[in-house]
């Protein structure tokens, strides 16, 4: 497979993750308060180190505004990282890599905050593997394009992401996220009971997929399925939103959620192409 295709798919995926997250941080919210408002964790620091009463700290609206500014600063970082993704080449200057590393580590931190916000549910962290992992795989590829290793890393990221989503869709260990059900009810004419049963099946398939992509004879077809299903679920956010009404407000609220999830389809596509290329060569 042409190296340009690989680079294009990696760059497009990474760009969309950064641009989607930038939009989210600049205009909406991010779970920084799950850390900054954690009374058990931060009260000793706020009161002990800074001498500010906890009640004063969490009811100070200036501090709330500052937290929002911090979120927006992260949005600017993601925006810069998105620009760097467009410009970066194998022989680009070091600062571009640094920006990408910063963006990537911030995405890991964001996944941690989401994990913390959801009461430390482990799949909540790993379901973002493709989103933060694609940054580091791009950086790896720019440095030393070893296709076999690249494919392996991509498969690991795909497995972690789909496995985590599958665990939620099962609804056995953790409750099914209401979003999953709502989107299916909005987009399809199915009943809620049927949707829950269907999600169980989808969850099983996602979990199986996480293992089957490592079996050489099956990998190609499983990755093809992952590309299709990952793309559908990414676009489901905006499609579901548009069922409420077709308006700029809906695009404003839901489009960025689709953008940073397109990586769930594009990277399986890349892995599929790499697998096909490697097996034919």
């Amino acid at each position: 497979m042409h190296s340009k295709t690989t680079l294009l798919l990696l760059k497009t995926s990474t760009f969309l993750v950064f641009i989607g997250r930038a939009y989210q941080h600049l205009f909406w919210d991010a779970p920084f308060r799950s850390l900054l408002w954690d009374e058990q964790l931060l009260k000793p620091i706020v009161q002990g180190l800074f001498g500010v009463k906890w009640h004063s700290y969490v009811t100070d609206l200036v501090i709330d505004s500052s937290i929002q500014s911090i979120i927006q600063l992260h949005g600017i970082l993601y925006l810069l990282a998105a620009i760097a993704v467009v410009l970066i080449q194998p022989n680009s200057k070091r600062w571009m890599r640094i920006v990408l590393y910063l963006g990537g580590f911030n995405l890991v931190f964001l996944a941690f905050l989401l994990f913390k916000e959801k009461s430390y549910q482990i799949p909540q962290f790993f379901e973002h593997s493709l989103q933060f992992g694609v940054v580091f795989t791009l950086l790896y590829y720019l440095k030393r394009p070893n296709y076999s290793k690249l494919l392996f890393y991509l498969k690991v990221l795909i497995a972690l992401t789909f496995f985590s989503h599958g665990i939620y869709a099962l609804g056995v260990v953790y409750p099914i996220p209401s979003d999953f059900i709502t989107m299916m009810l909005n987009i399809t004419p199915l009943t809620e009971t049927f949707v829950i049963d269907l999600l169980f099946l989808i969850g099983v398939l996602d979990i199986l997929l996480a293992f089957l992509i490592f079996i050489p004879k099956l990998a190609k077809w499983v990755l093809l399925y992952a590309f299709v299903w990952g793309s559908i679920t990414a676009l489901a956010r905006i499609t579901s939103g548009l069922q409420y009404e077709i308006s700029l407000m809906i695009l404003h609220q839901y489009l960025f959620e689709s953008l940073y999830r397109i990586v769930h389809g594009l990277i399986p596509l890349l892995a599929f192409l790499l697998t096909r290329n490697l097996s034919s060569s």
Partner: protein
């Protein structure tokens, strides 16, 4: 029990040592007797109290006849609730009735026990204790709700996480207000962890009054309750999916508790629809966690809730909706869903006759967010810890917002008064007043509303100003709509469009529109408008162009002052002061063109001019 035994053993050990070392045989016997007496009293003491803690009363059924008692059975076994209508203190044998536990759920670090008391008499005090193998609890009591449509009072709020101080203060206020029930809109804790829930229920004991009276809770699930089980297992609510309804009185007031953490459509909306169709309550209300239209900018809009519930609420006259989550404060005017109408703001428009009032949004004991996303139908908004005090009668609902803080003194309500604000408590008093009133809509009344002019801005005097009105209640069999300006009749219409053109005099004008139905029901709407004077020969401003100072010739009004405001052409006000000796200094202005507005103290006379400043 273990503690008392340990203390007694230590004491015994010490006594034996002392006796051996210092005293003779007689002293030994004396101290042995004293030890046994001590042990006796300690054992009596330890056996006085059952090990039932973190009590909660929950309403799961008809509140006139049924109350659910929940608690954490910390140790011991076989707890039984003994209860009756006369106060027997902790003398459990004297209570008329007993109830064994219906359900046990070991959850969130607690051994949750639930006993549902049924067949109770309405509007009656019930006293109870919980006895187990180790002893008897303190005596508590509650009052069942009336079965008639007597007036009731409620406290409504949500979000008590991450800020324990106001949470405790709010809980204490519950014990002073003494509501018929507390509607709690979710997000009790931050992390849904064992230790947080234990602390939450420890703090909930502050809602118990000093005389042992407890107040029931009707809880909803928030996004920080990570599973439906968190609410179901800790409160034993009637539905595992955390949506249910409770009706008070004969049919006075229904509260629908809904769940925004599952799909708002699907089976939940089907259930809601079916229930609303058959509900004949005088008042219907709803509580749920995430708002349809948050008043905090960065929070997402609740489109799922809006699309599934908003139209139902309007169609079936759910007149009061309680929302949480955003950690700010809001009250709205009565509103209804809309789409492409003028003044439709984020899917809602005012409907004073038939709309629903939305209140909220959390802050029982939570960190605060800036309330920075008001809509054109927002009545008032703010950011502070609060809950709502709701008084319901057949004629109306009145809502006040209570400030949560540490009060130096509060005189608590008596157990017989309803809807009283305890002395010493502060009520929020924003621009539009401290009380939101929802009055009963008489379907036979022709509710007319003046659409324009709105009175918000002065009107420029023109030959024709159009007065437009609309009747919202189309079932009223409208007969006539009459128009008045300053109490003078100017015309009437029998069919829409209801509008009239009128020449207004300069100054203050009062427009009234009265609609009369075929059966002589009437309704009137008023609006006050100011009209700028066209013929303002009494007023001059000079020189124009000007430099340095501006001079005015003004009408001679007794006991009044004149003021001037100067604006740039883009509308920015750059100067505002009182006119003294018919002049003002303008040395601070730079060259350019400005709009000058001159007005008297009550703005009855307003003059506007465009002037130019040269350097």
């Amino acid at each position: 029990m273990y503690f008392c035994f340990s203390v007694s053993m230590l004491f015994k050990q010490k006594m034996i040592i002392n006796t051996k070392n210092i005293l003779g045989v007689k002293e030994k016997i004396k101290h042995k007797i004293q030890y046994n007496l001590l042990l006796f009293f300690l054992l009596i003491f330890s056996n006085s109290f059952a090990t039932s803690e973190r009590l909660r009363l929950v309403l799961t059924d008809n509140p006139a006849t049924t109350v659910m008692i929940g608690w954490d059975q910390v140790s011991s076994i076989n707890p039984i609730v003994y209860y009756g209508t006369s106060d027997q203190g902790t003398n459990w044998q004297s209570y008329s009735f007993s109830k064994e536990v219906d359900r046990v759920e070991i959850y969130k670090g607690m051994n949750n026990h639930f006993a549902k008391l049924t067949g109770l008499l309405a509007d009656t005090n019930y006293y109870f204790v919980i006895k187990d193998e180790e002893g008897v609890s303190n005596r508590f009591w509650f009052r069942t709700a009336p079965s008639s449509n007597k007036a009731l009072s409620f406290i409504a709020g949500g979000d008590s996480r991450n800020n324990r101080t106001p949470r405790q203060n709010a809980n204490l206020l519950v014990s002073k207000f003494k509501p018929n029930a507390v509607f709690f809109g979710g997000d009790m804790t931050a992390g849904d962890s064992d230790i947080e829930w234990i602390e939450w229920f420890d703090d909930w004991q502050l809602t118990t009054a000093s005389d042992g009276r407890m107040f029931p809770i009707i809880p909803a699930r928030g996004n920080h309750e990570y599973k439906n089980e968190s609410v179901y297992n800790l409160f034993n609510v009637p539905s595992e999916l955390n949506y249910y309804d409770i009706t008070f009185g004969e049919n006075l007031f229904t509260i629908y508790t809904l769940n925004t953490e599952i799909s708002c459509g699907g089976e939940q909306v089907n259930w809601l629809n079916e229930n609303l169709i058959n509900n004949t309550s005088v008042w219907k209300s709803a509580q749920y966690h995430k708002p349809m239209r948050s008043h905090v900018t960065n929070k997402p809009e609740g489109n799922d809730q809006y699309n599934n519930w908003a139209e139902l609420f309007y169609e079936y006259e759910v007149r009061l909706i309680i929302e949480s989550d955003s950690h700010d404060v809001k009250t709205t005017w009565p509103i209804k869903p809309c789409s492409k109408q003028a003044d439709c703001d984020e899917g809602f428009i005012r409907d004073d006759a038939n709309g629903s009032v939305y209140i909220g949004e959390g802050c029982w004991g939570a960190p605060l967010r800036n309330s920075d996303d008001s809509k054109n139908w927002t009545r008032d908004s703010g950011s502070f810890n609060q809950f709502k005090w709701i008084c319901v009668s057949e004629e109306k609902i009145e809502i006040k917002t209570i400030l949560i803080k540490e009060y130096p003194f509060i005189e608590e309500n008596s157990n017989t008064y309803i809807c009283k604000i305890p002395i010493g408590v502060d009520i929020w008093n924003p621009t539009n007043g401290d009380t939101v009133t929802i009055a009963k809509t008489d379907q036979n009344k022709p509710y007319i509303h003046i659409i324009s002019p709105t009175g918000e801005n002065p009107l420029n005097n023109e030959d024709e100003i159009i007065i437009k009105a609309a009747v919202f209640n189309l079932q009223s069999n409208l007969n006539l709509v009459s128009f008045y300006v300053n109490r003078r009749f100017i015309g009437s219409k029998t069919i829409p469009p209801f509008q009239f053109t009128h020449n207004f005099k300069a100054g203050k004008n009062i427009i009234s529109v009265t609609a009369i139905s075929n059966d002589n029901q009437t309704y009137t709407d008023n609006v006050r408008v100011f009209v700028n004077s066209k013929d303002d020969s009494e007023f001059t401003i000079y020189p124009n162009p000007f430099s340095g100072s501006l001079f005015f010739t003004l009408p001679n009004l007794k006991h009044d002052y004149w003021y001037v405001s100067i604006y740039t052409l883009s509308g920015k006000r750059i100067l505002s002061e009182r006119i003294i000796d018919n002049q003002i200094s303008t040395t601070q202005l730079s060259a350019g063109t400005y709009i000058v507005k001159v007005f008297n103290g009550n703005k009855e006379r307003v003059f506007t001019r465009k002037i130019r400043l040269y350097n």
